[in-house]
Symmetry: C2
Subunit: 356 residues, 2 copies
């Protein structure tokens, strides 16, 4: 049996008390930090001959996450991954984060400790240090702001704007799964709401979702595809342009092509889509190709490489060549299985929105 | 006459449209950024033989600021200063910030442009670059998350924990003014609320507050005391410990003494308190010494130095020796004008709270 769940009000221990409690959940997983939490700033070793990469993300309860179907530990974990992914997608290595929280009084100290357990697990898995942050009151829900620092040699950093014509477009894993995972969780939430079931009913829901475990995991506990990064490194392949698939394949490929002033052709039959994604798409009457194109939150790497690397890429089963960069920047097309070539610019989120 | 005020809904131009509009308000004021806004991360030059300092702060509407009596431009300006102050207080130089916003639909695109004008003015005045961030929806008001990066040689960084016994305690300017400024603004807000006056009545209030301009300015547009930093540098004085006065003299001196495992004695008659602070304290029936001890948001530098530097410090009118570090870490005392020595630990915020 579980011990009764303790819920300490944040006001009972105050801001500094809370920071102390949360600090205890955090360990250091690399030796690149001279001073962590506890002064006006953290102090970080400059890494010789490397540049600094920095990215910030803000996650708002009800907009980016929902505590009804996602545990605070998962929310903490995912918040970190989303940020690390931005550093990896520039071919750099993340090494520190700061995390700031704004918290309404519906959350207890123990709730935030759970969140930090998730943060710490991500830190451990990716060998980064949590070096600072801030905790504040909020009037509505939970807001998580994370900033990540990473390092890389100047010549190894990969930008969005480096794609070259005739480059192959490669993705490091399947697409659309996270989006379908979200649909499943939102459907179960609606059922919960309608029947006013207690949160414990989540156990039943877990059972109902057992055929879609992969989709749920892609949504609630995404990972960065480090094996893809290592494969490229081992084979001395430096992509010309790279991004992580957060907004969706189409949107993120547009970012690359807009910045590189080029166009693209995708091959529908090459899009990697998991069987569970196809099955769940049937349940929701969603076209699984549209889910792959627009779903987002896959956190796979999307990059363009020189055609000469084709044979090496084909050796790695998780890397999939899904299209080509073309000179005409106005063309953002897909060749369908039928052989028909269609413009994806006319098949955006709006269209997608209407199908579900 | 002013042109009619345009209010564009954020939803009209979307997230990317908004980012473009805000980006246009920002210029770069140093050449230490290789890539600013526009990729997954910003890329920043590592400065040779210097370490990196990082600090994050989260500011929540209704908790840290109030748009009733503070313009969005001032809120933007102050948000940046609060963060830069953390870097300067470790004797380092800030050079980049990221800024993330969560915004409820009561704010227009033009409102956020005003905020960014304030951010940009601070960036210009302190020669820093805004290199990234995020914009998101919020359910309640405005949330501003800023992360600042700074640089300094390892041996020049000053921590909280370096104070030594018999050090002199020095502050770079007067204390308590910002707190009284806040009381004045909150009083006028109450009047506004009671009479349901339109915002235009703020002009009348400005007139009423003309004797307290200094206090209002300390509250709504704080600055970092760069001349104090330059004076120390020119005279080759390296403080042993340093912090900025954000939580209040007593709380921040406690941070230094807790980290340094030492105590302090303050001299009441040496506390620098502006005449306007004294006058306004009378209006509010507040003890101005308590305002100086506990008010906070002064953003002056508070540091401890070796006694041998006393004569040099006395030469600079803005630097004030207000006490001494003592070996007994349990003693956090003040010698009153009467000669009586009292323990400040028993005269904290709670007591302060009861007087007003």
């Amino acid at each position: 049996m579980n011990a009764p769940y303790k819920a300490t009000k944040i006001s009972e221990i105050g801001e500094f008390g809370l920071i102390d409690r949360l600090k205890n959940k955090i360990s250091l997983y690399n030796n690149l930090t001279l001073k962590g939490i506890g002064d006006d700033c953290a102090v970080i070793k400059c890494q010789e001959k490397k540049e600094i990469l920095i990215s910030s993300d803000l996650l708002v309860e009800g907009v980016h996450f929902d505590t009804t179907y996602m545990s605070l530990a998962h929310i903490g974990y995912k918040s970190v991954i989303v940020n690390l992914s931005d550093v990896y997608s520039m071919n750099a290595n993340p090494s520190q984060i700061t995390i700031s929280l704004a918290v309404s009084n519906k959350y207890s100290v123990e709730d935030l400790e759970k969140l930090y357990e998730g943060v710490n697990l991500a830190a451990k898995n990716y060998k980064i240090n949590v070096v600072g942050g801030d905790v504040s009151a909020s009037f509505s829900g939970l807001i998580i702001s994370i900033t990540v620092l990473g390092f890389q040699k100047k010549e190894k950093i990969i930008y969005r704007n480096g794609a070259k014509k005739n480059d192959l477009i490669v993705v490091s894993g399947d697409l659309g799964a996270s989006y379908l995972g979200l649909q499943l969780l939102q459907r179960e939430k609606t059922i919960l709401d309608e029947h006013k079931l207690p949160k414990l009913a989540l156990n039943d829901i877990e059972d109902k979702l057992k055929d879609y475990k992969y989709l749920i995991q892609r949504q609630v506990k995404p990972e960065v595809n480090l094996s893809a990064i290592n494969f490229l490194k081992l084979n001395n392949i430096k992509p010309h342009a790279m991004i992580d698939v957060s907004d969706g394949l189409f949107a993120d490929l547009n970012h690359i092509c807009n910045e590189s002033k080029l166009g693209f052709t995708l091959f529908e039959e090459e899009l990697p889509i998991h069987q569970q994604t196809k099955n769940a798409s049937l349940d929701f009457n969603i076209d699984h190709v549209l889910a792959a194109l627009h779903g987002g939150e896959d956190y796979e790497l999307l990059f363009t490489i020189d055609q000469k690397n084709k044979d090496i890429i084909l050796k790695e089963k998780n890397l999939k060549i899904i299209g080509e960069i073309i000179p005409d920047s106005n063309k953002r097309n897909m060749i369908k299985k039928s052989g028909e070539e269609i413009s994806l610019s006319k098949l955006g989120w709006d269209h997608f929105g209407k199908t579900n």
